[in-house]
């Protein structure tokens, strides 16, 4: 079965870009969320195989969302999408349960590797 991914980012641009990369690599986008709160809700709703999670978002940031998702599903696979200069946040994300991180500006190859590493 095709693995599904929940894409979380407040920028539509990023979501579209990730979606394209996800589909190019043979996975499917289960849904998209624009903030942490929505991410948690949608995670429960669509039960994806993987989540790509932005950090800086309105309402609820990515770290808090990872925490809540991990609370709900300790086996959740989450890749955090950070920007350069957000190292402390990435460390925190990994501590609270993210499996991997990718750094913006995202590079197609890196996204592919990261997805395949976790889902492949």
């Amino acid at each position: 079965m095709v693995k599904t991914i929940l894409v979380v980012d407040d920028a539509q641009f990023m979501r579209t870009m990730l979606k394209k990369l996800i589909e190019e690599n043979g996975y499917e986008v289960a849904d998209e969320a624009v903030n942490g709160q929505e991410a948690v809700e949608k995670y429960k709703e669509v039960d994806p195989d993987l989540v790509t999670m932005d950090i800086t978002m309105p309402k609820m940031d990515g770290i808090e969302a990872i925490r809540e998702i991990m609370d709900y599903d300790p086996n959740a696979d989450i890749i955090v999408c950070s920007a350069m200069g957000q190292k402390p946040m990435v460390v925190e994300s990994l501590e609270v349960g993210a499996k991997d991180f990718i750094v913006k500006p995202i590079k197609p190859e890196k996204v592919k590797d990261s997805l395949n590493n976790i889902l492949g």
Binding site: F13, T16, G85, V103, N117
Partner: protein, 672 residues
């Protein structure tokens, strides 16, 4: 992946983020403690940086990054909001805007980034002068582990094989230390980390190149270890060497380190006091929800619109066949079809509608800047920014609106001291509002400034030769004030860079009229002025009444029609050589379309005169036609006015039978 696919998306979304930044900064300027706005602007800059970086727009990305750094300090409370930093950020936004519209015109980008950085540096050094600069570390290809006795003891006392794991990260890996950490974490499940080169604490401080090595003690085979590391991203190469003899490890040398002196930056404490704010701009603008929307190129919508328009024409053609041959069955079947096409048309039209906030949003910033330049206190109130208008119109009204708002600030609103002397609020009010009125959208710009003095206008109008003295005598004050829209008229004593710009109000008027709209002014001396623009909701399809004059069909837009009457020639009176009729207590002048459209009038007198009564402003006129055909929806086709004689015609329309009707420009035909 082709980045061009994302160009459009990038353009529109980055536009949104720039608007957010602008709005947030405006709010911050008046409410420096507003954390929400700081966070919001930080996020916007952050997102912009990421998007631009992904698109390869290096200049935008660099500038956004520099802004983000400053906003980050604001966010952490390390610096406070003051005019200096706000102005710097506004300049950055302007440059970002320019970078996306006219990148070639951006000349001082490096200068600006340096300025942002030095702003940052000064604060940062002040906040934390112990922070060390990054010290580069040269990795060595040779295996170099300086083992202590304790470490050697661990190796000899524990079961398993020591192995040296050499990891090479991808050279564009950003957080190398994090990858190394992930490697360490993964390894710890299988054995003991004895030592790393560079040392683990150095690695944690990002003091490493792509390559690092780990001395690892495990009972597992090298295959299993290699596999356990396979799932970590950004690893270029893993090389595992099993060490047979401990002695091999003892022959080692201390790795070299290079220390660099960190140049001490002088603490240039600059003046951070909040300067007096002389603007208070309130923006009530709501942002478009990013959710549940898709973005479509306007051109695609235009082409869809044209297709729908064609469909309407074709439908009308089929309908006319049904009517001329009395095909009842066909007519019946066509009814639902016409319902569908009408709905389709409405939907497409709705899609083209965008909120006027797209235009209004630029005003808070504009007003702020102008008020600052002119030392005036302005309170800008925006109302009805959710009012929707056709995209084409939105694109066109920006400049006229800017011109009028500039005028209102430059000439309308008095200096604060002057206002106080007059017993007014020091703060001048400018109200920008939009609302629906029938098939029109009305946009108003109100100010509570000094108003327009009719006597000054009269003097100027005579000077400029716009009117003659005798013409002036019969004019009301309102008509006189509206003379400022006349070609060649400008009330400016001198052209300044605020309201001058070499564009007169006549240009504004022409622009609005080219959009089938109208504009007029009401003004009371000492109280202020109101500019009112009326614009059609949409441009392409109108409801009209088809009439016939000299065997040619004409369309009168339904929105100007008051009523349609058959006038008995006996009821027509002549007052001051003008033919008029009395209708519900008012005198309505009759206008001969033959005359206005340069047609030869037939001699024979008619029993009844089909007359369309139209309203223009507060006046009514009766347009006399040969016959009235009926109401019809028509698609406006632009006519290129090559001859310059077409001002009485607003456009052309193709009718159901394929013939062409001309759309009458009611305003022109009644006033000229």
């Amino acid at each position: 992946m082709d980045m061009n696919d994302f160009q459009e998306l990038y353009a529109s979304e980055s536009r949104e983020h720039l608007d957010i930044l602008n709005d947030a900064l405006l709010t911050l300027e008046n409410d420096p403690e507003n954390m929400e706005m700081i966070n919001e602007s930080f996020r916007a800059a952050h997102t912009l940086k990421g998007m631009a970086g992904t698109m390869g727009f290096e200049r935008v990305s660099r500038l956004a990054h520099a802004m983000e750094n400053i906003l980050d300090l604001l966010r952490n409370g390390e610096i406070e909001v003051n005019t200096e930093v706000i102005n710097l950020l506004f300049r950055s936004i302007d440059t970002l805007e320019l970078l996306s519209s006219n990148p070639d015109e951006v000349e001082d980008l490096d200068e600006l980034i340096t300025e942002l950085k030095s702003f940052l540096e000064i604060r940062k050094i002040k906040a934390d002068n112990e922070e060390q600069e990054f010290v580069s570390f040269s990795s060595q290809e040779d295996v170099d582990f300086d083992l202590s006795d304790d470490e050697l003891k661990i190796i000899s006392d524990n079961p398993g094989n020591p192995m040296i794991i050499r990891i090479e990260l991808e050279d564009d890996c950003v957080f190398k230390s994090l990858r190394a950490d992930m490697v360490f974490e993964s390894l710890e499940e299988y054995g003991e980390l004895i030592k790393a080169n560079p040392a683990i604490d150095k690695i944690r401080k990002e003091e490493l190149d792509e390559i690092f090595q780990i001395l690892f003690l495990t009972i597992e085979t090298e295959e299993i270890i290699a596999q356990s590391l396979n799932n970590i991203s950004e690893i270029e190469e893993i090389e595992i060497t099993v060490v047979d003899e401990i002695e091999q490890l003892e022959d080692i040398s201390q790795p070299e380190e290079k220390e660099e002196d960190v140049a001490g930056l002088e603490d240039n404490k600059s003046d951070q006091t909040n300067s007096k704010k002389n603007t208070n701009v309130k923006s009530l603008s709501k942002r478009l929800k990013a959710n549940n929307t898709i973005r479509v190129d306007v051109e695609r919508l235009d082409s869809l619109m044209n297709l729908v328009a064609e469909l309407v024409i074709k439908r009308t053609q089929v309908e006319s066949v049904g009517e001329s041959y009395n095909l009842d069955e066909l007519n019946k079947k066509l009814k639902p079809l016409s319902k569908v096409t009408t709905e389709l048309q409405n939907s497409v039209m709705e899609m083209r509608m965008v909120p006027i906030s797209l235009v209004f949003n630029r005003f808070p910033r504009l007003v702020r800047d102008l008020a600052q330049d002119l030392d005036k206190d302005i309170n800008l109130v925006i109302e009805g920014e959710e009012t929707e208008l056709d995209r084409t119109i939105i694109d066109e009204i920006g400049d006229p609106l800017v011109h009028m708002v500039r005028n209102a600030i430059g000439h309308g609103i008095e200096d604060p001291d002057e206002r106080e002397r007059l017993g007014k609020d020091r703060e001048g009010l400018i109200k920008l509002s939009a609302f629906h009125e029938g098939n029109n959208v009305v946009i108003q710009i109100q100010d509570d400034g000094q108003g327009i003095e009719p006597e000054l206008i009269k003097k100027k109008a005579i000077e400029k030769g716009v009117v003659t003295l005798s013409e002036l005598e019969s004019m009301s004050d309102e008509e006189i004030i509206n003379l400022i829209f006349a070609a060649g008229f400008s009330t400016n004593e001198e052209v300044n860079d605020v309201s001058g710009r070499g564009v007169g109000m006549d240009v504004v008027k022409n622009k609005i009229e080219s959009l089938s709209g109208s504009v007029d002014i009401e003004s009371k001396v000492g109280k202020g002025s109101t500019f009112t623009m009326k614009l059609p909701l949409t441009l392409s399809i109108i409801q009209g009444f088809l009439i016939k004059v000299a065997d040619q069909k004409y369309v009168i837009p339904l929105e100007s029609i008051q009523e349609i009457v058959d006038v008995n020639p006996d009821d027509v009176q002549t007052i001051r050589q003008e033919e008029v009729i009395h209708r519900r207590g008012s005198v309505i002048p009759l206008i001969s379309l033959y005359d206005k459209l340069n047609k030869e009038e037939p001699d024979q007198a008619k029993q009844e005169i089909s007359t369309v009564i139209v309203g223009v402003g507060n006046d009514y006129y009766g347009l006399m036609a040969d016959s009235i055909i009926g109401q019809q929806e028509v698609v406006i086709k632009r006519i290129n006015d090559l001859s310059g004689n077409l001002e009485k015609i607003a456009g052309g329309a193709i009718l159901g039978d394929g013939s062409i009707a001309l759309i009458i420009n009611v305003e022109e035909i009644t006033t000229s």
